[in-house]
């Protein structure tokens, strides 16, 4: 176990430095040269054999491209009010129609997606950093284990959705005054979601670290006097990266859903700052006349979440062969 894990440490050290980074497998799996078998190449090969996950990956990447590059190609301002062209259906000028103020829906969908996915990614990174930190610390240092796990249980017992609603309503205005309405809300929502969703990651990581601590290579590293911080960064973290990555994908999905739910309850971003959830919420009043305006943002939310969940499934299967097919 020692030599392969050494190699593995080399391979994954860069990944381990940023556990909240992209949850996708390495971008260029097929390189010319010696067919050295690394763990990540194996994971990628396994991942490719999961058909649903591959379809989902393609879908997710295209949604990302749509919201990231789209606004450069489709240059209509999403907040531009064209009062003569309101409530239009699908046309060449407005492929997805316009809303009740004549704003272009395609442009709004792109910017809305940017915010929604950004919220998902940032909230997930916060939750993941917190969760991995607490998980590793409580698994590695015996003295901190009991208090940190009590803390985790306390957080698990909190009624999260009501508390999120409370936090957002209570602190939206003061933060908005300090940091501007959009920035303040973004910061508030992202940190609120992050702070309330790290518990599962912490528990999983702690369990894995506890198991890892009994292994020989940890003993070997300890016996040559490796200090605790380097132990954690070089030997422990790289070996728990796979549960962290699976948790990351699920984290993106829940964060996107939570943000849309908050927006749907009217407690998300300000109206002139579209997100998918906000677009859906705004369209509900007129769903009798213009059902498409409800269905489109909802479909985008659902497709993103579905693809992310499938990617998580494929990743879990690829990384842990024992649970394949469940």
């Amino acid at each position: 176990m020692t030599e392969p894990s050494d190699l593995l440490v080399e391979e994954t050290a860069s990944n381990a430095a940023a556990p909240g980074a992209e949850a996708l497998p390495p971008a260029n799996p097929v390189e010319a040269g010696a067919p050295a078998r690394s763990q990540w190449r194996d994971v990628w090969r396994q991942f490719r054999s999961h058909r649903g996950a591959m379809v989902a990956l393609v879908l997710f990447v295209s949604i990302i491209l749509f919201v990231a590059i789209g606004p450069w190609l489709w240059t209509i301002d999403p907040t531009f009010v064209d009062y003569r062209a309101r409530n239009q259906g699908f046309s060449m000028a407005h492929p997805l129609g316009t809303d009740q103020l004549g704003r272009d829906m395609l442009a709004r969908m792109m910017t809305g997606g940017r915010v929604s996915i950004a919220v998902g990614l940032v909230a997930m990174s916060i939750a993941l950093t917190l969760g991995s930190l607490i998980g590793v610390v409580s698994g590695y240092f015996k003295r901190l284990d009991a208090p940190l796990m009590r803390l985790t249980e306390l957080f698990l017992a909190l009624p999260l959705l009501p508390l999120l609603l409370l936090m957002v309503t209570l602190f939206r205005e003061p933060l908005g005054q300090k940091l501007g309405p959009a920035g303040g809300t973004f910061l508030l929502i992202v940190s609120a979601i992050g702070v309330t969703s790290w518990m599962q990651t912490a528990r999983i990581v702690r369990g894995d670290v506890l198991g890892l601590k009994e292994r020989e290579f940890i003993l070997a590293a300890k016996s040559i006097g490796t200090p605790a911080p380097r132990m954690i960064l070089r030997h422990v973290l790289p070996n728990v990266i796979s549960p962290i990555m699976v948790a990351a994908t699920l984290g993106i999905a829940t964060a996107i859903i939570t943000e849309s739910a908050l927006s749907f309850l009217g407690l998300g971003f300000p109206p002139d700052f579209p997100t998918w959830g906000r677009l859906l919420f705004d369209a509900v009043d007129q769903m009798q006349q213009y059902p498409w305006r409800v269905i489109l943002p909802g479909a985008f939310i659902s497709l993103t979440v579905l693809s992310v969940n499938y990617i998580g499934d494929g990743l879990r299967d690829a990384m842990d062969p024992r649970i394949r097919g469940r």
Binding site: G52, P162, T169, V294, G325
Partner: protein, 335 residues
């Protein structure tokens, strides 16, 4: 087992106290003012007296202890009076809502039946759908039924209820006109017609929530069945000539249900939280909608009490799940 249960119950008390403190402090730290809606023409000294009348004059810790006393002592005494006709709570202040000036628990008691019928029905229905699907999916792994089942449950689990709810309203409420799209809570079930009306208006919210719950539970059920189908005791049972039906529905199913039952228990409080959104979609005036209204109106006692009730639900169902696990599975020892 008994000592474990006692220890867990004793541990639940500080947990709940801590959570109530967190909620209270969060509300305390909020810049929102319950008197924010009062017009500016009201002179400051009158405003001060209104503040006193709402009980906002004291320091926060005094109000916190007062709230605890009202929640854990005065309210139970009041219920006791209601049931047995005694008068223990005479002259004691109950928790009063800022908005309606009526006792918080009376308002909750009015709203609770709507939530309970919708959420309870949907959870029951979800479980009833999920368990057979999970069994068949696992027993015929990789068959077309399993492929479709896992795909549908993945979709159901990924679609947020506020989207499925709205789509249901568009399709069945507006286009097909099968079901009313808004839940009429003033409806009284008196005869057959009103009963049919009640059922018709419950169909959509219950289906939306039930599909979501079923998606999650069937995934667990399938995984748990798969775990058990590969065990040695299954081979033994088949080898000694038991019928396939007995093997699957008696031996495997019973063992697979153990983790699923705890998942069902753990999921119930989450479903109550999630009903917040479904109630908002279908305009059901249950406790979820009450909470949202109270948050918007800065009604601190109402928000505090409702959120704390959610916390009690979570803590007690976690406890129930833990205990059930020990009761159902004699291999688990809590010592």
């Amino acid at each position: 087992m008994l000592t474990f249960a006692l220890r867990r119950i004793l541990l639940a008390i500080p947990t709940l106290l801590f959570i109530s403190l967190v909620i209270f402090l969060l509300l305390e730290a909020s810049p929102g003012d319950p008197l924010g809606e009062v017009p500016l023409t009201v002179p400051p000294e009158v405003k001060e007296r209104m503040r006193e009348a709402l009980g906002l004059g004291q320091a926060w810790y005094i109000r916190y202890v007062l709230w605890l006393k009202q929640f854990f002592w005065v309210e139970p005494l009041y219920w006791c009076d209601q049931i047995f006709g005694t008068s223990f709570s005479a002259g004691q202040q109950r928790i009063i809502s800022f908005q309606s000036r009526s006792p918080v628990f009376d308002v909750i008691a009015q709203r609770l039946p709507q939530t309970l019928t919708v959420v309870g029905m949907s959870y029951l229905l979800g479980v009833l759908i999920a368990i057979p699907i999970g069994i068949i999916s696992a027993y015929r792994q990789y068959s077309w039924f399993d492929q479709i089942g896992t795909f549908v449950s993945m979709v159901g689990f990924s679609l947020p209820t506020f989207f499925t709810g709205v789509v249901f309203i568009i399709i069945f409420g507006i286009k097909l006109q099968w079901f009313p799209s808004i839940y009429d809570t003033t409806l009284r079930v008196t005869d057959w017609d009103s009963f049919v009306m009640q059922v018709r208006q419950m169909v959509m919210p219950v289906t939306v929530l039930a599909l979501y719950n079923a998606a999650q539970i069937s995934r667990f059920m399938r995984a748990s069945m798969l775990d058990n189908l590969r065990q040695d005791y299954v081979r033994t049972a088949r080898a000694k000539g038991l019928s396939e039906r007995t093997v699957v529905l008696k031996h495997v199913l019973r063992n697979s249900l153990i983790p699923v039952v705890t998942v069902i228990a753990l999921g119930l409080p989450v479903v109550f939280g999630g009903a917040l959104i479904t109630e908002q979609v279908f305009k059901v005036n249950g406790i979820g909608q009450l909470l949202i209204l109270a948050i918007h109106a800065n009604d601190i006692p109402m928000v505090m009490t409702l959120t704390f009730i959610f916390a009690i639900l979570i803590v007690s169902f976690t406890l129930i799940a833990d205990l059930l696990y020990g009761v159902l599975d004699p291999r688990i020892r809590y010592d």
